[in-house]
Each structure stands twice: as structure tokens, then as C-alpha cells.
């Protein structure tokens, strides 16, 4: 297991390095330049050139990239071109915000979706199954900006029972923060529910039809024991993988939700950095999302392995 983890970490580092080079190159292709973004469209070319020189963006891309990597290796994420301030606090704040939102969305969506999928599978072919499946499919086709607008209008404005903005007042406690995250988390949950529910349903049906389940039933085990001890453990393995692949989206892909609910997450920070051609900030945000995604995938793989004793990597058979 240790060797496996080390191998995965090594691969992750290589992936991140390649990702950083790609983003650096792609960022250079964006129209405009940092000096122009900071000084405005009416600034003189000489003024823009002077600021670009001060920022160092007129150096070769190789030189810029080398300096950036060197600083990163020393734990220095650099200074934002547009904010003229160290990048680390921006990343930390945005990442923490995104993790909070992802956690609340996760806690709302995953148990609900898995439970719905398992129930649908257990009642396969009956009206409960059909209702859950149709409901899940319908949500799958509903973009989050549509569900978000409806949620804001109904619960935030008409009924006025939930806040329309996801950002709580400064100094708010955990409960207040969660209170503000409910609406955006529901909007996100709507997107993920159908996908996770269908995976859980499919996995459960397959597990229910398997030999080991038939054996367990024939042994006379109670239904609850069969489901909890034999069916779910195998049925949820592919679901875990699916959930893990959504972590990246939950952390870095929520730009629309962040805008709609006015929330400073890592998605909107990435977009702002791209708009401003703020290369250091853009690199930092993308790499952060990459790290989160790779860590989430690694955790999912390890969990999968731990839950599935048939997988022995480098171990005894």
C-alpha cells in the first residue's frame, strides 16, 4: 500500500508540473496584457510598456516560468499583478470558501442521492423506482444557474426564509455560515443528484443480482443484513469513484453558482485572474484546483482499495 501511495504521489507531481506548463502557455494566449488591464484601455502604450516591464511580463515565457517555479519551490506563490498583494491569502480564503460550500453540498447531496439510488434499486420496476429515476433525470438536465435563480426567487425573495447571498457577515459563526450556504448547496446538489443516484442504483441492482447476495439470502440472513453487509459494500464502490471525480467540479467548477450567490470561491477567483491576465494568480488557482482534484482522486482510490479486498497491490495473494 505504501509503495502504491508513493507511486500515485509521484505521478500526481508530474501531472501538476505538466498542468502548470499548459496553463502558463494558455494564459499567454489570452488577449490583452496585465499592464493594460491595470491601467485601463485609455492608457498610453508607453505607460503600459513601463508597467509591463516593472511586472516582468515582457521577459521571455521561459524566464517567467522558471522564476515562478523557483519561487513556488520555496513556498512563495508570488504577488498578484492586479491586486499588487501576495497571492497566498487570496488562495487560502477562496479555497476555504469553496471547501465549505463543497462540504455542505456534499452533505446534502451524497447521502440523499445514495439513499435514493439504493431505494430505487430495492424497489426496481415499481412506482418509487420510476419516480426517483425520472426526478433524478430531470434534475440532471437542469443547469445550476436555472435552479439557482428559482431557489433565490422562491426562498430568498418571495418567502424570504433563506439568504440570497452565500457570503455571511464578517465574524459569523459556523451555523450562520451554513445557513448562508444552504441555497447554493441545493443548487449544486440538484446537478449532482441525478448522476450519483443513477450510479448508486445501477451498482445496487448489479449487487442484488450477484451470486454472493443470492447465497446470503439463501443462508437466511435478514434483508437488512444482506443489504448493509453485502450489497452496499459492493454497490457503492463505483459510486465512490463517481463522487471523487466530482470533487474537482465541486471545488473549482462552481463559477456560475459563485457569481449567482455572490460567493468568493476558487472558481470565480480563477476567472478573475484569467480576465486580468494575472498569470501568477491564475497559475496558483489552477494548480490549487489540480492539487485538490488529485488528492480527492487519491483518497477515492485508497478508499476503494480498502473497501475491496480483491484488489491487492503489491501484497500477498
Amino acid at each position: 500500500m505504501a509503495v502504491y501511495i508513493l507511486k500515485r504521489v509521484g505521478l500526481a507531481l508530474i501531472t501538476l508540473w505538466i498542468l502548470s506548463m499548459i496553463i502558463f502557455w494558455v494564459g499567454q494566449q489570452l488577449p490583452g496584457d496585465p499592464g493594460r488591464t491595470i491601467l485601463g484601455n485609455l492608457a498610453t502604450p508607453a505607460g503600459v510598456a513601463a508597467l509591463d516591464h516593472k511586472l516582468g511580463v515582457d521577459r521571455s515565457i521561459v524566464t517567467q516560468y522558471r522564476d515562478w517555479v523557483t519561487n513556488l519551490a520555496h513556498g512563495d506563490m508570488g504577488t498578484s499583478y492586479s491586486y499588487q498583494a501576495p497571492i497566498r491569502p487570496f488562495i487560502t480564503t477562496a479555497l476555504v470558501n469553496s471547501l465549505k460550500l463543497a462540504l455542505v453540498a456534499f452533505l446534502i447531496c451524497v447521502p440523499l442521492a445514495i439513499a435514493s439510488g439504493v431505494i430505487a434499486a430495492l424497489k426496481s420496476g415499481q412506482w418509487i423506482d420510476r419516480s426517483i429515476s425520472v426526478f433524478g433525470l430531470s434534475l440532471l438536465g437542469l443547469p445550476e444557474f436555472v435552479s439557482g435563480v428559482f431557489l433565490i426567487m422562491i426562498f430568498g425573495i418571495w418567502l424570504n426564509v433563506l439568504p440570497v447571498g452565500a457570503t455571511p457577515p464578517a465574524g459569523a459563526g459556523p451555523l450562520t455560515q451554513v445557513y448562508h450556504l444552504i441555497l447554493p448547496a441545493i443548487a449544486i446538489a440538484c446537478v449532482l443528484f441525478g448522476y450519483i443516484m443513477r450510479m448508486a442504483r445501477a451498482g445496487t441492482i448489479e449487487a442484488l443480482n450477484s451470486d454472493y447476495t443470492r447465497t446470503a439470502v439463501l443462508k437466511g440472513l435478514p434483508t437488512r443484513t444482506v443489504v448493509w453487509r453485502h450489497v452496499l459494500r459492493n454497490a457503492l464502490l463505483p459510486t465512490i469513484t463517481v463522487v471523487a471525480t466530482q470533487i474537482g467540479y465541486l471545488i473549482g467548477g462552481l463559477l456560475v453558482v459563485e457569481y449567482l450567490f455572490h460567493y468568493n470561491g476558487i472558481g470565480s477567483l480563477t476567472f478573475k485572474a484569467a480576465q486580468a491576465k494575472d498569470f501568477p494568480l491564475l497559475e496558483a488557482t489552477v494548480l490549487t484546483i489540480g492539487v485538490v482534484y488529485l488528492v480527492a482522486t487519491l483518497i477515492a482510490d485508497i478508499t476503494y482499495t480498502l473497501l475491496n479486498p480483491r484488489l491487492r497491490i503489491g501484497g500477498d495473494r
Binding site: P31, G32, I38, L42, A43, A50, T93, G156, V164
Partner: protein, 556 residues
């Protein structure tokens, strides 16, 4: 009320030739009381003095106040939450150019004078009076005594000189360069004594006092020696508020500055919250998360427009879009073709479609209708498709032609470009639209495109647009317009000090531009903000500034 000649003589005593000229104009009834107040303030007569003169001439003694929002007396002690646009970069007063940035600096920073948005009259702010010499080439400003910065240090002429020198520094790009180019150089600002500053101009300029008022949003006064690149850490200024905290990309909080020269500050706290787009601002207002939304456009704000629960703060402004046509390239090198294009547009319909009527019609010149020097007797151009087609025939294009229009993806402009395309189609001009992001447009097409549609923000006087966009060699002359008569008239206008002269020259300029039509300006759209009905005392300007020292909840 009757005229009091004795009182009038007393008040006239010691006044300069220019000041007496304006008083004569009012006494003889050639200008209204409002014009008198405005012109008097430009040349530095204080509002109380102007009011006293008006009373002595038989008018009531009252000065206008700039206030907006709900009626009723605002109460002190409120914590106000304001939704605004996120600043595009670090807050450097000399370099900010965006709405988010300028709103931030004017929360704590102040100007020598304030352009009242309701009357377009300059009110004293950090200067109590200002006056020009005989030909308006030197302006003398008397500073308000007893003003301190938020850290307690007194404001003196040294601070004013420093602030202006930083904003006219030729070695570093500063945003105010577009205003001061050809007007004021770095060594033109001189301290006379601790309370007096002189501005020695490159050429006579009758509107100079406007050019250094709150209309020039970069020109807040900072302490001598301030590092502008670090100003964001303290937001130091003389204003009614001082910084509590600033988080880029999130918002800013301000507390009252109890040593403010202007007296009591009503709000207990201001919380500015930054938003990337308008829709979440509107839902935040509707949901009760904010009390005021600064700077909105009508599209997307239907839920709060004409809604009795909210107050719309509507300020006339000179924000506009210029559709320039290259006067040095066929087919636009023929003025008949340019006139034809201008005649194809239905301006009232455009104003209604794009701004729901919150706009004034433009007449293809830099004189916005609300400018006092605008000659409104010049006929307003209206759509006339028949005449447009005739002009095209006369110009040798009876079947029309095909051309390209370049513009930027910004606010309503791509919709406006589509309207222009359709209007041109009606007279046989086939337009290929090229809509780019702002960076590409400004870099590649703004000043070179055969037809170019660009945005312009608000200015309190037309001087910058008159010179930069249309004079030979003007930095923003996208039409490549070259007309010596025009250049001569602009020079005269800039130098003119009294309103009748300015208006007379403006009329000539407007008439010339109607004939030549180097660019089309179909509308000047209003600056809009919105607040809860229960909030009063909010003052907004055409520039997008928002003043809240007198704001608070009002009782119904």
C-alpha cells in the same frame, strides 16, 4: 422682493472685472439665477455671497442642495450596506480608472470642489473659493482652514501641490493625464502660502475649475509624500469616513471620521460589498442583504425599477457611445455619406430600447443636453430615411455599399451595434459587425477601424471630448477628423470664461459637427443607482460616485 442697490454695491465692492461682468449679466436679466449661481461658482464666488447678491437683486436667498433619495430626515447611527462593482485592480488613486476604484477612493478622499449633480454647479469642498485671472490662464484657490486628514495631520497647500504634481507627473502614467494634457503641467502648480495654491495653465481655460473638481475623480488630496502605490493600506484622506478594512475582491468597511470638517456623519458604518455582475446585486437588494446598489443599468433591473419599495436615483450624465467613421477613408471621406448614416438612426427608439428611456438624445457632438453651455437651439437630428438615401445617391452610392464596424463587448454596446446594422440596412449600407473583447478592440481597432463604436464615461464639461476625439492629432481621434475651423472654435471655447460666449461658440461647433458628422452620438445615458425606499440622503453623481455622509433611514 425689491432690488437693494445699496446692498448690491456693497457686495460688488472689491470684486474683479470678471466677477462684476457676471453680476451685470444677472442684473440685466441676461442669465437666469441658476446660471448666475453656476457661473459664479466657476470663478470662485462663494455660495453665500452669490445668494446675497441674488437677494440684493430681488431674488430669494437659497442655495440648492444636492440630495437624493427618499424625502424625510435621515437618522443617524445606521450601518449601511452598499453593493458595488469590484475594483479591477489595486486602489492607486492616480491610476484607477474603473467605477469600482473611483467609488472606493471618494469614500475617504475629497476634492477641491464638488460638482453638484443636480445643478452642475461647483460647490466648495477643500477649497472655499477659487478665481481666475483676467484671461483664465491662472487660477487661485483658497483652501478651507481647519481641515485634517483622518490621521489628524492638518491639510495645507503642500498637500494640494503634491497631489497635483503626482497626477501630472510626466514620468509615470497617471489616469488624469487625459484631463491635464495641454492644460496643466507638473510645474504649473504653485504654493502661494499655506492656504493658497495657484494653477498656472498652459493656455487660458474657462472651465478649469471643473477639470480639477470631483469630476476628475483621481484628484483627491492626499498628504504630502504619500506613496500612491501603498495608499490602499490606509485610504488616508480628509473625507467623512476612514477605512476600517479593505479586502480586494470582497469589500471594504468604513467608519465615521469624527474630525471631518463637514460636521456630523450620520452612518455608524459603511459596508461596501463587491459584486462581479449586476444580477446578484439586484437579488441582494430584493433579499435584504444590501440597502443600496450603486450604478445599475436598466436591463436586468426590472424588478426594482418602478417598484414602490425602492427609490431610483437618476442622475443625468454625459456617458455616451461614439460611432466614428474614418473621414480619411472612402466611403466615409464624403460627409454626405456620414450624414446619411446619422439620419438612419431612430434615436428616441434607441434610447427606449437600450435604456428604457433613462437617456437623453445626442446630437452628434460632445455637448450633452445638460451641459450649461450647450446651445439647445441647434436643431436635433432626427431619423429621415428618404433624405439619407438621397444623400447616398448624391455621394455616388445609389445602391449603398458594404463596410465593417468594430466594437467592444461591453454593457449594451453589442445590442446597439445590431441596431446600427439594421438601421444602416434600411438605407442600403451593409455592415459587417466585428465584436471583440475590450482588450482586443482597444488594441487593434479602436483608433484604426473604418467604423468604430467606443464607450465614453461621464465628464462634467465637454472639454476633454472636444479636444481628444476631434481635434487634429487628438489622442482619441478615431474618426481621423481634420478640420482647422473646428480646431479654432474649440480653442476659443476652451478659453472662454463667460457662459454667453461659451454658448455662442458651442452653437457654432454643434452646427459644424452636424454638417461634418465625423462621429455619431445618439444618446447620453443616465447614471442610475437604487436604494431601499426607507433610505434617504444618498447623493450620487454622473461619474458613479456615491456620497453617504448624510444618509440613513427615513421615517415615512
Amino acid at each position: 422682493m425689491h432690488r437693494d442697490p445699496q446692498k448690491l454695491d456693497q457686495l460688488r465692492n472689491g470684486r474683479s472685472e470678471i466677477e462684476n461682468h457676471i453680476i451685470d449679466e444677472y442684473v440685466l436679466g441676461r442669465i437666469s439665477r441658476r446660471e448666475f449661481l453656476r457661473r459664479g461658482s466657476i470663478i470662485g464666488l462663494s455660495i453665500p455671497l452669490l445668494g446675497a447678491i441674488a437677494t440684493a437683486c430681488g431674488g430669494a436667498n437659497s442655495s440648492s442642495t444636492a440630495s437624493s433619495g427618499s424625502t424625510g430626515t435621515p437618522k443617524a447611527g445606521a450601518k449601511l450596506r452598499i453593493a458595488g462593482v469590484v475594483p479591477t485592480s489595486a486602489i492607486n488613486p492616480a491610476q484607477i480608472y474603473d467605477e469600482g476604484g473611483l467609488t472606493m477612493i471618494q469614500q475617504t478622499g475629497e476634492y477641491l470642489s464638488f460638482n453638484d449633480p443636480k445643478t452642475n454647479i461647483l460647490q466648495p469642498m477643500l477649497a472655499t473659493s477659487f478665481k481666475p485671472n483676467a484671461d483664465a490662464s491662472v487660477w487661485t484657490y483658497t483652501l478651507r482652514p481647519g481641515v485634517t486628514f483622518s490621521d489628524g495631520t492638518p491639510m495645507t497647500a503642500n498637500d494640494v501641490v503634491y497631489s497635483f504634481q503626482q497626477n501630472t507627473n510626466p514620468k509615470v502614467y497617471v489616469n488624469a493625464a487625459s484631463v491635464f494634457n495641454g492644460v496643466l503641467t507638473n510645474d504649473g502648480v504653485k504654493k502661494v502660502d499655506d492656504q493658497t495654491v495657484e494653477f498656472h495653465l498652459e493656455a487660458p481655460n474657462g472651465n478649469f475649475s471643473y477639470l480639477i473638481s470631483s469630476d476628475n475623480y483621481n484628484m483627491i488630496i492626499v498628504p504630502n509624500g504619500t506613496d500612491y502605490s501603498k495608499w490602499q493600506k490606509t485610504f488616508i484622506g480628509t473625507g467623512p469616513f476612514k477605512l476600517t478594512s479593505y479586502q480586494a475582491n470582497t469589500g471594504a468597511t468604513f467608519a465615521p471620521n469624527h474630525s471631518w470638517w463637514g460636521g456630523k456623519v450620520l452612518p455608524a458604518e459603511l459596508q461596501h460589498i463587491f459584486y462581479q455582475t449586476q444580477q446578484p446585486q439586484i437579488t441582494a437588494l430584493q433579499g435584504g442583504d444590501v440597502d443600496i446598489v450603486n450604478l445599475i443599468v436598466p436591463a436586468g433591473a426590472e424588478g426594482v425599477l418602478n417598484n414602490p419599495d425602492y427609490t431610483l436615483l437618476d442622475t443625468k450624465s454625459s456617458q455616451h457611445r461614439e460611432l466614428s467613421m474614418r473621414c480619411d477613408k472612402a466611403p466615409w471621406d464624403n460627409k454626405l455619406v456620414r450624414q446619411a448614416m446619422a439620419l438612419s438612426l431612430n434615436r428616441p427608439e434607441i434610447a427606449q430600447a437600450l435604456f428604457k428611456g433613462y437617456a437623453q438624445l445626442g446630437n452628434d457632438n460632445p455637448f450633452a443636453p445638460f451641459f450649461r453651455s450647450t446651445d439647445t437651439s441647434v436643431p436635433q437630428r432626427a431619423q429621415d430615411l428618404t433624405k439619407a438615401k438621397q444623400l447616398l445617391s448624391q455621394a455616388g452610392h445609389p445602391s449603398g455599399f458594404t463596410t465593417d464596424l468594430y466594437t467592444e463587448d461591453y454593457q449594451e454596446m453589442k445590442n446597439y451595434a445590431q441596431i446600427i446594422k439594421q438601421a444602416a440596412q434600411a438605407i442600403g449600407i451593409n455592415i459587417n459587425l466585428h465584436i471583440d473583447n475590450q482588450a482586443t478592440y482597444y488594441k487593434d481597432h479602436w483608433l484604426s477601424g473604418i467604423m468604430s463604436l467606443v464607450d465614453y464615461g461621464h465628464r462634467g464639461v465637454p472639454n476633454v471630448v472636444l479636444t481628444a476625439t476631434l481635434t487634429k492629432g487628438g489622442a482619441w481621434n478615431a474618426a481621423h477628423f481634420d478640420n482647422p475651423q473646428y480646431d479654432g472654435l474649440v480653442k476659443q471655447y476652451v478659453a472662454a470664461l463667460d457662459l454667453p460666449t461659451q454658448k455662442q461658440i458651442a452653437g457654432q461647433i454643434e452646427t459644424l459637427l452636424l454638417d461634418e458628422t465625423p462621429w455619431i452620438c445618439a444618446y447620453y445615458f443616465d447614471s442610475l443607482s437604487v436604494s431601499k425606499k426607507a433610505i434617504g440622503g444618498v447623493v450620487t453623481t454622473g461619474m458613479g460616485q456615491i456620497y453617504l455622509s448624510g444618509a440613513g433611514p427615513v421615517t415615512a
